[in-house]
Structure formats: structure tokens, C-alpha cells
Subunit: 404 residues, 3 copies
């Protein structure tokens, strides 16, 4: 039986075959829901949602997924205020208690790596509903599901990731997922909002074709923007191109994109809100831009949107973001059912994910990420995986550390 | 099958026959509950409560109603903080996602007309749990149920509405409901807290007998208050009456009232709290006043109370407000079951409510109500129904607009 | 049928035999859970949790307990913000409404005696989830369950209560429970954090062997602390002892303790946080101190911890606090099932608890406890039980009042 008892903290916790098993089961769940069939696969099981940050879609769709499976839910919607955390409780203590009440725990927390720390202290499966700016793996499951269902496949598709690629945990997990399933990635991110190094590094390891640009909408306005383009894993250099050439190039680009995936600026993770306004303008999608896109392109967004996605786009058939949100229920039903061992699925032995064990002895090294959970919770020890003799990767937040 | 798939945003969304169908079914629900019968009419169905304002009774009784019907609930008790709204999400986006998870949605929101806007964007039934100072239609259903059950009928009863009739959404829906079912309405409201024009206008259209006064308790104190009385739909004029005459008149009034319906000052909707204190005094009910009332009068209150309803009244058998709150469960069970199509009821074709379509072309007119949702949500367009060639009514908040 | 329809506000609301009935049934519930048996004893029943203060364990374990019994839950996790209390609603009004929706109510509130007031106004059972600094009776049930299960018995055991014994409601209920079941109590509390007089008084009435000290850890540090020791019910005097003698004495003490029960400083109930820091140091438990304890000692803590319980203790087999938290589910299942009359248990007639009626006429006396609910809710009347001709005990918060 696959996945029973496992955690899902990073999309890399599951092998490709394991991810496909979830997506296939989600298809079955979806059909059952459409036929109005009752699924009581998880009767008598208890799901806990523990959210230290606001949520509409993630918490709701997990709770509905559990109800549709016949299970019950205990909800901590604002755990930073309503739970013992208000009295100073640590993540570890919270989890070591709740694992005795719950059969499966879904946690969202503002610190990078926090959900991994939680999983380490829990004997029941922990699912990350998002940890700081790090990952949001179940969003990626439903994003992959959306592309597979609406475009027929993931392999070979050109997917543009547009927006705040630095602080948006959603796109971190998604970029890795796309790379692993053989999609081509085009990044459109304003300066200071590009993909973090550790993600770019991971994509390189998967031999992903990656191209990066600074702006999308400028082109449509036929302005004289500076266009930056960079090859995979190199730092982005600048190159001024003429308005005509740029226009021609970007039209070509839009005509070749299968998916345009937009994300909002993560203002709650920026030092000040102001620097976001200009950035937001640079990748806004509206009807004008839509006209230049392919007829069968897919406009996706994890929601909530702010200014980057105009309401006028909603009426276009290519706008897939509400359907995408809707897929959250069958995908999360499939995930819960598999982690609880309520559904039997088998995959060949070699296809099971082997989760890398952190290196045991990296004396005196601290994670350089100020938002990493190891720098916030006193009992947590920094742990690292050895990438190469000079490079460590934080076991919790995936940031890279150069060592002598 | 009546009501299946419908919304309930204004009490005027249902015809009298449809309202009676709900109340009749509530009677059956009530009997079933008393006998301890399990009703699994809504098994496998999911209700969402999304509350952007505090609530005890409304949210609780909806959730218990759904549980008593065998269904499940996902709860957003403080949606302005715990949901994506904290990240800037619009009402439309929230609803367009949640309609994919829920079978029926109950929403409370501080803006007038917000729940109508929500219903427009939802393919599943939306029930208003109160929208700003506009309406609270399910409270009216249980208020009508209370009067019908405890007084035998609504038609011909004299019902005094006492308190903040301007900002209290509860009395807006109720006044319309009472008018439609043939009750006589006596309004007791301090200056600046009278019924809004659009409600007074609606009551006139239903040929409701309406009388308005400024104060209730002053009379019992035998003070020399200025007594204001006004005929239906005219502005209230002032007339000083002698203490004796006033006393005699008010005693006569109290002796003829079947129902005294009290409401609190909506301090959260006032510019400053201070102006409320004096106003509250003017319609306070206590034992003294109760002594002058009829033996079979009904004292009602939607709760919570503040100072206007003395605790000493609780012990009187005429105090109906806790029973009234209790009726919220069977009434909301009936409503949910009908909107979900879980119960079959038929009414003759002509008795189905025809909801007026908003006029299509009212170029450049904005709703004058600063708290109307159309002045707050950027994608929302003001829409109006034509009352007469010079008068428009806002499709969302019902405020009236004079046009040239 | 015992306990059906009863409230649990103070541990003294149940007789010893009634408490044992709960613990025995909890054992059965625990076995059933371990075997994965579904218990649908409370199907169709509705539990309300109404929490005016943060909670992780208490609310969660009650909700899971109800789910494991097949019942449903409506949750008010932050009732001071999300409910009508935000509009000024009283405890009595809240309860008089919710008793019409719920089959059983669990309430936590910051005022002493608040849950007793709630129970007075409710026709359905009210369970206290903690009332101010007064009591937390269900925590005591699971604490007694833990000692009985892991030490075989309560009678004759030496139990040290360490920490903020003044403001910690948990230890108030526990001290009484331990005294009634024949345990010996050793109090370790910094100055100004000792047991309140009314608790010390109650322990005396149960002829409990009680010894009190000022500090625990000082000894291990071999410092020259002032050691205070006092006999039962006398005020604590001071006596300077030499470092050697102190060490010898405390080692002797630790060697004889069966249970060390730690609690955090209740900083939210202190005038300023600062005075807590030094106090916390004086009873901190770490590995050093653990080494001096008995091999079969039990380290307990109601959680959450702050600084008084070092993380290094967690790995010791004597650390029982997470298991203790886990027992919350079967114990609360047993309690709910008994109060709802879903399980039949009988005890001999004389063993039923007789709850003392408050004296009727104590004119003009107010409770001296500023945090007592009778000093906060306008409609609440102070009531007292006559302890002796000169002494009254507040019916709500148990504080003592000398009368002439």
C-alpha cells in the first residue's frame, strides 16, 4: 500500500509515480462526486486543520474533502490567537499533543520549514498547507492535476510562471513539479522577485529548460522596456532591445505558451508594501494581453488575486483559475485517503520515494534564512543535506549554504 | 419542487406562499426534534458559513440545523481575519471558489447588498445571515414563525417595533414581512433612528397601517415628553401633548399591542457611541411598563440585548425572546432542506415569487448609500429597478434614487 | 443512571464514586479506541464549545471526543470576538439561547465562577473548560486518570505540585481531587504564588497531608536559598538552612516523590510579566534534577509549558505529559457519554454527590474576589455557603469572606 503513514511537506517527498497515483485517484474521486456517490472511505477518522495564517481555499477544501470521505474535522482557523500558541507553546509541543487526537494533521505556518519540524514530531501524517515562503505541495498537486486534465499532459508543455517567484511558496513547489514531469518553464518576474537560488538549482538538477524575463505586459504596451533574459541557472543579465524586436519576440513567446500561471505579490512577506506597486504592474494580465495568447492557452492562478489579474479575464474560456480551485477537493480527497491507508494502490518497489536523510554532523552551521524555523524554535537543531563538498542544503527550508 | 436552488437575500425573494411553506415545514421539523427523531434529509451535503461580522445565534443555529439534518458544515467564523480576505480577496472571488466546495452558503457581511452580490456569483444557493444595515431575512422567518405559533396568526395583529429602526437590518426585513402578512405596525424610534425611507415606501406599497412614535417609556414615567406621531409615509411632525393625555393615549396603545418587538441600538454602525445613550433610554422596557401591557402580549427581541430590555422582564411569561431564538433551528432546517431540494413541496404556479430583474441601462447613476457594496467592490456595477419614471431603487441595498 | 443531566463546574460537583465511574468508563473507551471500534453512543447529539480564552488541548480533545462518540460539534473558538459578546451580550443570555441548540455545552471563560453562572442558566449540562483562576475540573479527571493508570493508584502517593499554585486553576482542582483520593501533597511555589487560602482550607477539611516549600531547583544548584516549610494550613514561616542540610533534605524529598506535577506561570493573570521571570527559575526541572528523582517517578504537566520544563526532559521515560494530554480524549468521551445519559452506570444511592445549596440570605455581602463573575455581570447576585458562623464561601468562585 503506497503513501500510507507518509507526510507531504515538499513536493519532493513523493516520487513521480506516487504523484501520479494521487492524480489518478483524484480522477476517480471527481467522477464519484459528479455522480453524487457517497464515499465513506474515512469514516471514523479525524482530520485536524491547524492554520497560523489566513486561508480560504486550502483549509476549506481540506475540510470538505474529509467530509466527502465520511470523516470528521477539528478546525484551528487562527491558531496563533485561539490556541495555546498565544500562551507561548512551541510547534513541537502542539504537534506532540495533537497527534494523539488526530488521524492526520494539515498545518499552515509562517516560518519556512515549520511543517517539516512538525512532521518530525508527529506519529500521524502531517500535510503542509504552506510553510512561509518555502513550499505549498498540495497546491502543486492540484495545479499539476489541472494541467494534466485540461491540457492532456504535462510533459512538453510550455508553462510561464508570472509574478512574485521569490516569496510565493506556491510557485516553488510548482516549478519543481513541472521540471520533474518534463515541462518547459518560462519565468516572468520583476527584479528582486526572481526564483530563489535553491529552486533554480533544483530545476537545473532536473535538466529543466528554464528561461527568465523581467516583464510581460510592457511588451503589449509597446513601451521601451529593458528586457532581461537569462539562461538556466545563470544570473540574469540586461539587454536593451528595440520596441519592435521586443514586441515580435514576446508575441512569439505568447503564441507558444500552453499555460500562463500568475501569482500575486506576497506583500505580507515584503519589508514595505510600496515596492510592490510598480512590480505588480509589470506582469498584469488583461484582455489586451489575452488577445495575443493562444486560443487553447490556460490562464491559471492559485488565488487570491490582487491587481495582477484583471476581472475582465474571468469571462474568457481560457480562464481556468476557478476550475483549478475546484479541483482542490478531489485532489485532497485522494491524498487524505492514501495517507490514511483507506485506499489500496500499489507501485513497483523501485518507484517509492527515498527521502534523503540529513547529514548528521555539520557542527556549528546555522541556516542563513532568517525565516527558517531552526532560527526561531529553541529546541530545533539546524540540519543539512550535503549537495557537494562545498554546498549544504537546509533540511527544513532548502536554502543553500556555502561551506569552506 | 419549490425553492430548490433559490437564494434568500431579502424577505421579498419569497412569495407569501413560499414563506408559509417554510413555516409549515418548520412546524414538522420542530415536532420531529421534540420526538428525538433523526432526520437525515441532507446527508452528504455541505453547508458553508462565512461570517465577516460576529454572530452567536445565526451562525450557531444554521450549523446545528445542518447537523440535525444529517449534513456537514465548514465554518468561517471570522472570515475578515482568517480567510483570504485578509490578503485582499473580493466577495465575488471568494464565492466563485466556495460554490465549488459547498452545497449551500450562508454569508454575513458588513456592507449593504453584499450578500446579493455574492448570490449573483454563486451557482449554489446563498442565504443571507445579514448584510450591513439592509436585511436579515432568516431572522424574519423565525420572527413570523414565533408570532404565528404563539399568537395563532399574523394577520390583524398589532406589532410595535421599538428601537433603532434605521440601522437594524432585522426590523427592516420584519416590517416588510409583517406588512405582507397583514399585521398593523407601530414604530417607536428615537429621532434619527426612524425607519429608512425605502422601507417606509415599501410598507406603503403593501397598504400597511403604520403609526410612528418617538418614545415609549417616557409615558410610563409620566414625564412631559414631546410625543411625535405621524401617518404612514409622511415625515413625522411634532405635537406637544399634556402628560395626562399622553399617559391615557399610551396606556390605550399598550393595551392594544399584541407584540412588542424590541431591538438594540446598532452602536457599531453609529458615528459615535455617545448619541446612543439617551436614545436607548427612550424605549427601555421594564416591569413597570410590562404591567401596563396586555396579559397575552408577546415581548420579542432578536438578541443580543443591551440596555433596552431589563433582566427583570425575563421572568414574565410574556417574555418570548429565548423561545424565539430557539425557533431558529427548526426554521433554518426547513429553509436548508427546501433550498437543497431535499424535501418536496408544491405550490400553485402563480404563487411562485418573480424576482424583479434590474433595469439594464441606468447610465452613470451610482447608489447614494455609502455603505452599499457597489461603492466598495471595484468589479460591481450599480444596478437599479425602476420604481416610477423619477425613482430608482438600488438592486443591492434598496436605497432610492431620484432621477431627473 | 448516574450523572445524566448534571453539570461539571468544580471537581467537588462529583463524589469520589462518581469520579471513579468516569475513570472506569474512560478505561473502556480507551480500549475501544485502541481496537479501532466505532462508538456511536452520541449519534444525533450536538456539543457546543464556547471558549472566551485560547485553548489547544481542552477544546480539541472535547471536539474529538464527541466525534469519536458519533456526535457533532459547533465550535466558538474565540467567542469574545466572533460571537455576540462583541456586541455586549451577557453570559446568561448566551447560555439561555445556546441551551436551545446544544445537547451539552463546554465553556471556558476568564472570570472566576463564570461557568457556574452559565450552568445556573442552562437546562442542558454545562462542563467547565476552565473559569479564570478558579478550577479546571476535566483536567483533574484526566490527571487522576493518568496517576491511577501509570502508578496503579492515587491513595498514598506523594504528589509534588510545582509552580504558580495561586493563579493556576488546574492545580486548584487537582489538589482537591488528590486530597479526596488520599494522596499526600507537597507544594513547591515561589513567594506570592502559593495555594490560595480557600484551597488550603478545603484540603484541611479533607485531612490531607500538605507540606509547602518555596523552591525546588535551588537545592540542586547547591545555593544558599532560604527554605520555607510550613505545616498544613498554617501560613508559611521562613527558616534559613545550611546548603548541606538543604541538599540532604531535598534529595530525600525527591527520592520519595511519586509524581512531580509542574505548571507554568499564568502570566496573563499577573499584573506585569517581569515578576514572573525570577519565580519561574525557582522551580525549573531539567536533567540534573531528574537524576535525583526516583526511577519510577512520573513527571506531569497540563501544558502548555514555558520555561519551567526543559525540553531535555522529554526523552526520559518518566516524562508523562504527552501521554497525559492524550488521555484527555477517552476521559472526556466518558464524561460526555455519562452527562448525556448515553451510557448506563449505577452507584449506590448514598454515593451520589449532594451539591450544597447557597445560603439564601446574606444581605449586602459582595464577593471580595475582583475577578469573580458576580462583580462583573450586572444581573448576577452574590451567593454564599455558610462554612461556619464567621465564614462564608462564595458559591461561584469559592473565595472566603469573614463576617462579623
Amino acid at each position: 500500500m503506497i503513501l500510507a503513514g507518509r507526510d507531504l511537506i515538499s513536493i519532493n517527498d513523493f516520487s513521480n509515480e506516487e504523484i501520479e497515483a494521487v492524480l489518478n485517484l483524484a480522477d476517480e474521486m471527481s467522477s464519484a462526486l459528479e455522480k453524487g456517490k457517497r464515499l465513506d472511505l474515512c469514516q471514523g477518522k479525524e482530520l485536524y486543520t491547524i492554520f497560523y495564517e489566513p486561508s480560504t481555499r486550502t483549509r476549506s477544501s481540506f475540510e470538505t474533502a474529509m467530509h466527502r470521505l465520511g470523516g470528521t474535522v477539528v478546525s484551528h482557523a487562527e491558531a496563533q490567537v485561539t490556541s495555546a500558541v498565544a500562551k507561548g507553546e512551541s510547534i513541537a509541543d502542539t504537534v506532540r499533543v495533537l497527534e494523539r487526537y488526530a488521524d492526520v494533521i494539515v498545518m499552515r505556518h509562517p516560518l519556512d520549514g515549520s511543517t517539516r519540524l512538525a512532521a518530525e514530531h508527529s506519529s500521524v501524517p502531517v500535510i503542509s498547507g504552506g510553510d512561509g515562503a518555502h513550499e505549498h505541495p498540495t497546491q502543486t498537486l492540484l495545479d499539476l492535476y489541472t494541467i494534466r486534465k485540461e491540457k492532456g499532459a504535462i510533459r512538453g508543455k510550455s508553462v510561464a510562471l508570472c509574478g512574485d517567484l521569490r516569496h510565493g511558496r506556491t510557485v516553488h513547489s510548482l516549478a519543481i513539479g513541472l521540471a520533474r514531469f518534463g515541462a518547459e518553464i518560462i519565468c516572468i518576474a520583476p527584479p528582486d522577485f526572481e526564483l530563489p537560488d535553491h529552486i533554480r538549482d533544483t530545476l537545473k538538477a532536473y535538466r529543466c529548460k528554464l528561461t527568465e524575463y523581467e516583464s510581460l505586459e510592457g511588451v503589449v504596451d509597446e513601451g521601451s522596456l529593458v528586457l532581461h533574459q537569462a539562461e538556466t541557472s545563470s544570473r540574469r543579465g540586461g539587454a536593451r532591445v528595440g520596441s519592435g524586436g521586443q514586441e515580435g519576440f514576446m508575441s512569439f513567446l505568447l503564441e507558444n505558451l500552453d499555460v500562463l500561471y500568475f501569482t500575486r505579490l506576497q506583500r505580507e512577506r515584503l519589508p514595505t508594501g510600496e515596492i510592490g506597486d510598480a512590480a505588480e504592474e509589470s506582469y498584469r494580465i488583461n484582455r489586451q494581453l489575452l488577445e495575443k495568447s493562444r486560443d487553447d492557452a490556460l490562464i491559471m492562478h492559485p488565488l487570491p488575486r490582487t491587481g495582477e489579474l484583471a476581472y475582465e479575464v474571468d469571462h474568457d474560456k481560457r480562464a481556468a483559475y476557478f476550475r483549478q480551485a475546484g479541483y482542490g477537493v478531489p485532489v485532497r480527497m485522494a491524498l487524505i485517503a492514501l495517507l490514511l491507508g483507506a485506499v489500496e494502490r500499489r507501485i513497483s518497489e523501485g518507484q517509492k520515494k527515498k527521502i534523503p536523510k540529513p547529514a548528521k554532523d555539520v557542527c556549528g552551521v546555522r541556516c542563513p534564512n532568517g525565516r527558517c524555523v531552526t532560527n526561531a524554535e529553541c529546541y530545533a537543531t539546524a540540519k543539512f543535506c550535503q549537495v557537494n563538498p562545498q554546498l549544504l542544503r537546509c533540511y527544513y527550508c532548502d536554502w543553500l549554504v556555502q561551506v569552506a
